[in-house]
Symmetry: C2
Subunit: 330 residues, 2 copies
Amino acid sequence: MITIKDVAKKAGVSVTTVSRVLNNSSHPISPETRQRVLEAVAELGFLPNAAARSLQLQETKTIGLMLPDIANPYYPGIVRGIEDVAHEEGYTIILCNTDRSRERTSKYLRVLREKRVDGIIFTGGGVVEDASHDRFFWREEIPTVVIGKHPADFPSVQIDNVGAAKRAVAHLIASGHRHIACITGPEASTTSRDRLKGYREALEEAGLDYHPGLVVTGDFSPAGGYGAVQRLLGQPGLKFTALFTHNDLMAVGALKALADHGLSVPWDVAVVGFDDIPLASYVLPRLTTVAVPVYDLGLTAMRLLRDLLQGREVAPVTTLTTELVVRESA
Amino acid sequence: MITIKDVAKKAGVSVTTVSRVLNNSSHPISPETRQRVLEAVAELGFLPNAAARSLQLQETKTIGLMLPDIANPYYPGIVRGIEDVAHEEGYTIILCNTDRSRERTSKYLRVLREKRVDGIIFTGGGVVEDASHDRFFWREEIPTVVIGKHPADFPSVQIDNVGAAKRAVAHLIASGHRHIACITGPEASTTSRDRLKGYREALEEAGLDYHPGLVVTGDFSPAGGYGAVQRLLGQPGLKFTALFTHNDLMAVGALKALADHGLSVPWDVAVVGFDDIPLASYVLPRLTTVAVPVYDLGLTAMRLLRDLLQGREVAPVTTLTTELVVRESA
DNA sequence: TCCTCCATGGAAAACGTTTTCCTAGAACTA
DNA sequence: TAGTTCTAGGAAAACGTTTTCCATGGAGGA
């Protein structure tokens, strides 16, 4: 590997000088010298060693991105948003799939700390039980911003889950539905809790009774949605004409389950999802859902982190707006 | 930040010794000393600085992953496969979205080289025009494995695109179809070229004529598939009862276009896609498609890279098998 | 003429590790 | 007993940068 010394030798100057021209330091350099250095750099194809640089500068221009699972279609949009501004700002991203597992999370956190990442963006950790764990692992203070909710008090970017859910359910009610089932995420998910809260608020506001039998818990996966619908349909006396699922993946599973049972959407049962993942508009019938601005979520998260790293003050929580996009399923 | 020196001081030993116990070097260390060091490490919460380590060891335990766009549902599965073995092997992944842009690609390549990544996994670069460009940027020899085809001769993991396409089209023919349209990817895509080749071979083998008017080019996106179908339908005398699209995303767009035209699938026109992205089995009608083992593609790519990094010989090309999964659309 | 200041450049320390030599004593071997 | 081999540990060089000082020579001011 070719180093700054080789460049210095070739240009007939000291490494100091090479470093200065490469970083266009304010220290004066004669035009001829600069020229010679640049030529040497080009001829040798020199690229500074980032490790050496980081060691000296105490910054890595790298950030860690922790999310549950990149294979979940909810996340790639976020990642793209993050990556686009990171790239623009000269940061590089280390991808960490946590699988929401405590072990994987802390193992990755350790690596990120060893690598001395400048910052961390964390998402999908809104799991109440893990509070102590999370706080524990972050004691070291590395600048962090969170997408969604998190027990520790990092700056966060979120959406108004309860409000959005409430509007979604209100839409169903406005369409005349009185018996609205609900498929939630895992019990521990704060996101799902908020969406459930919105569901209940919408019901209450419309003077409708909350019927616990109508809410079944899923796991945010299509299979979970499919199973949930089967459980719903399996209860003899249970009647419902609409379905609110806490994410699109489950909605898609639900759609299939409904079709398998010969129920047609939206005639027999209307369904509205949450997230507006890309596939939502391609499924048949096209899914009515709450559009979460995933790309923007990522974008602003990274911007916040950048501000944090530049020592600026950032808002403790910034809320992005969602939109109910009405398509064919409800 | 706390360093190895602090640990050494606290344990009353030299940094040499600390380093030795931390790396369980073969150099003998008395149990008591080891104990004292470990305690100091734990008490201080010391984590070695990876930059300093890399500088000395000349390895970063980091690999670069270059792909067109993580938001394309074809890729997350691959990434997961890569990440899982990387994590297991102690490697960390830097994510690079190239957008298939020459500029972004070379900018990222530069960063990866500055960061001295131990290796690179490249995918989605099978674009013939870029041969010189790619070769140029890789002249520096950093161990690389490629998923799919690539002009430079790196070890690669691929699938048999022509064979798979041929079998898919043969399936349509076996179902009695004689007029089979085809929606391709961009002209420059080698993947698409291979799939087109398979299409023609299947036709030829069945003694059917190849009709250029039946193949229209898309761009691997749903919108591209939608538009392609419209163009097909817009040609007055054109008749086709089946459609082979070069990826599922376009198939999904095609499904929608067909529905919008009042054509029912598979009765009026049968469609088969390619990739078997997760959504393929949730779209209605469920999509018949060629299942590409994306996770395994990533898995083996990373394993190959690991072998490469360990100095082992690896096969120049390893081909994974695909499977035609017949669902409802054809 | 002497002094000061500026333009230009370099030497060396520092960043935090790993590893190559060394050293010193203890335990063998002959 | 004398030499050799282990065991246990440390000093310092090296990895490749950036940056703080310091040096030199010429220009400008008195």
